[in-house]
Subunit: 399 residues, 2 copies
């Protein structure tokens, strides 16, 4: 965890509060070892035990109210000064209430969002406690969702953040090259997964998400399609194999997918349908990539990708075209996704410079399994650039 | 993660629902890699990406409704059968609503608790989504808190769970013995911490809580008192040193504290005040231990401990006497704690057979730092037994 990045994020907060017309932002948490509000990533490198309030104002003030025994740990992180930290023993009530009354905010952003889990760290029980503490004040009526602030903090990557993500991408590609050199018929999904696990471990890194299904290795039509652990299924000639993984480099993630075809003894190329699917995906990725720029709604980019697949005679994929990547693999609110209810308001959010997205359409072939590539791009002032080297050719394996 | 333990927990659910008079229990989650409802520990060994509903009924039915691409991973865990799993692509709405309407429960327990974080995994945004989906039904009015169910699942330890905790305790004591053999003036807090880190790693285990402050090593009066990372502060003769750590063994935690006194060259014993503090703590632990049995409220046990310290002329500690331990270091709702507002209803919960608690009073001596022992006990049918070998003598170090 790079403390300087968190310092930069904290410094961004007053201007974000002003940009969104919000007077005060409150992150209200406890026992973050057990369940951590994702917003904590942006404002501290430490955990807390008892009820704790992180308060930021549009005027640039910071307040941190926490249980007495958590203080020394927080002080040691140097993000909050002795004057900014208040402690309590019996109850957070008085200190929290009086601090809010002193600030007298017209609006208080709280971490509540139906659409974006990164902005939804406030639990029902903590919300109830907060309302109880503020019950005789006008402040409950002034709650607004913190998602614009949290989303901007996560999305608007600093150059140091982009460097770390780029490094995670580069390493992931190195490991993919290793797979391409070694994959062959007779290996199991787990054998391929072990290449990834060993290469990741040798570099002192960890998987970008739950190591139970990162890497995911999917061999042939009988394999699970996504989000599943590698199995002892044997890779056979005539199978499409795809992999999905990323690494975490200094707190920042990558997330890429690649596809191979394992040729039969009498083949010199992949079957026609596999080649057609690959080309359709390539077209889908390149076409949507070209349309990405700040100000466009994510749903429009997703639609381009879907339209291209349909133009090639294939079905739509049952998920979003792309998600943001950062400290988490699924990061930030804006999505490149269709207007499906499960995505709430996320398809309608406008893209911004500094955001990092995946592009990951997929075609499932009944006979062969899923053909899929996942690339990563960064949005620039007037377009986008690839952070990954896109897979433009199907990897043909003859061994 | 031992799948058989989760199986046993899932099998307990219908009888718990009947015991507490609740028709249905709903755990409603998403993106559990980012923020995981702690109740998930009791009902699955896998994570999910999209909105997911785990539903259990008093009649013994199970339903799992999830995004289509999460299905294979969940099926592979074998805890839910193909018939019990329903998937969706666009929205969970229809499947969730119709499932609840089919069950037609008179009460629906949801994971919302002001007092117990383990029972408070439902976020505000997910609650809002749930209410929106059920808006034209009578079911929102039938929500009740799931804390009795979750608390019982976590608290009522099976014999296999107790074995794992006992093993974690035994290993922690082995490591403490190593510290006692090696600690000396001139070592830093980090040197002592490295003994713990290496011994834990050599056994292929991890720390019981955040490795940033597990172990905690606290040397002398200037040291942080708790919840802080070890520093490069040098241990000097004439200092009280205490340590706080635990290990995780097959998913189950220990949490113990021990205290040493580093004698000056001309000393053959600890200073009188340090000895008195140690004896007061020992009395406090033994006295409260003797009063523990099922049916007693935790606050009464905590009070005995406080009273003993006061009888010896010392001040009360600024925290609870003891917390439950299990898959997390701070586990289960019932606490041995004072009636302070920050503890909500937890001091009033009755103790039950099978619960595992710490006993950890503390005395802070201005000149020397904190003297503290933390033991672990298990509640039996008519009392309690120690899982740890209590520290009954101050460790005197002359080197």
């Amino acid at each position: 965890m790079d403390i300087n990045i968190i310092k930069q994020k904290i410094e961004m907060i007053p201007s974000l509060l002003n940009e969104f017309g919000i007077d005060m932002w409150l992150t209200f948490v406890r026992e973050t070892d057990v369940m951590k509000d994702p917003a904590m990533d942006m404002i501290t490198d430490r955990g807390v035990t008892w009820q704790t309030a992180f308060i930021f104002t549009a005027k640039g003030e910071k307040y941190l109210i926490l249980g007495s025994l958590d203080k020394d740990n927080m002080l040691a992180s140097t993000l909050y000064s002795d004057e900014e930290i208040k402690t309590y023993v019996g109850s957070i009530r008085d200190e929290l209430k009086s601090t809010i009354e002193k600030i007298a905010p017209k609006s208080i952003a709280i971490n509540k969002s139906a659409d974006d889990i990164m902005s939804d760290g406030l639990t029902c029980g903590m919300y109830e406690t907060l309302c109880e503490i503020l019950k005789d004040t006008p402040y409950i009526e002034r709650f607004v969702p913190a998602d614009p602030i949290i989303s901007a903090l996560r999305s608007r990557k600093t150059s140091v953040e982009i460097e770390k993500i780029q490094k995670a991408v580069d390493i992931t590609e190195e490991i993919y090259d290793k797979i391409t050199k070694n994959i062959c018929a007779g290996m199991t999904e787990n054998d391929v997964a072990n290449i990834v696990r060993n290469e990741t471990k040798d570099r002192g890194l960890t998987s970008a998400w739950d190591s139970a299904h990162c890497p995911g290795i999917f061999a042939g039509a009988e394999s699970a399609e996504a989000h599943a652990a590698p199995s002892d299924r044997v890779i056979e000639k005539g199978m499409v194999v795809h992999a999905d993984f990323g690494v975490k480099f200094e707190g920042y993630c990558s997330d890429l997918q690649r596809t191979w075809y394992i040729m039969k003894d009498d083949e010199t190329d992949a079957p026609d349908i596999v080649k057609r699917a690959f080309l359709a995906l390539d077209d889908s990725i390149q076409s949507s990539f070209k349309a990405i720029k700040p100000g466009v709604e994510g749903r429009l980019i997703d639609q381009i990708s879907r339209d291209r697949l349909k133009a090639h005679g294939f079905e739509e994929y049952p998920h979003a075209l792309g998600h943001q990547v950062g400290r988490s693999t699924h990061d930030g609110a804006a999505l490149l996704c269709p207007e499906w209810e499960r995505y709430g308001q996320r398809p309608y959010m406008k893209l911004e410079e500094g955001q990092v997205f995946t592009l990951e359409p997929r075609i499932t072939l009944k006979e062969y399994g899923a053909v899929t590539m996942e690339e990563m791009i960064k949005i620039t002032a007037d377009g986008a650039v690839f952070l990954s080297r896109p897979q433009r050719e199907l990897y043909l394996i003859k061994r």
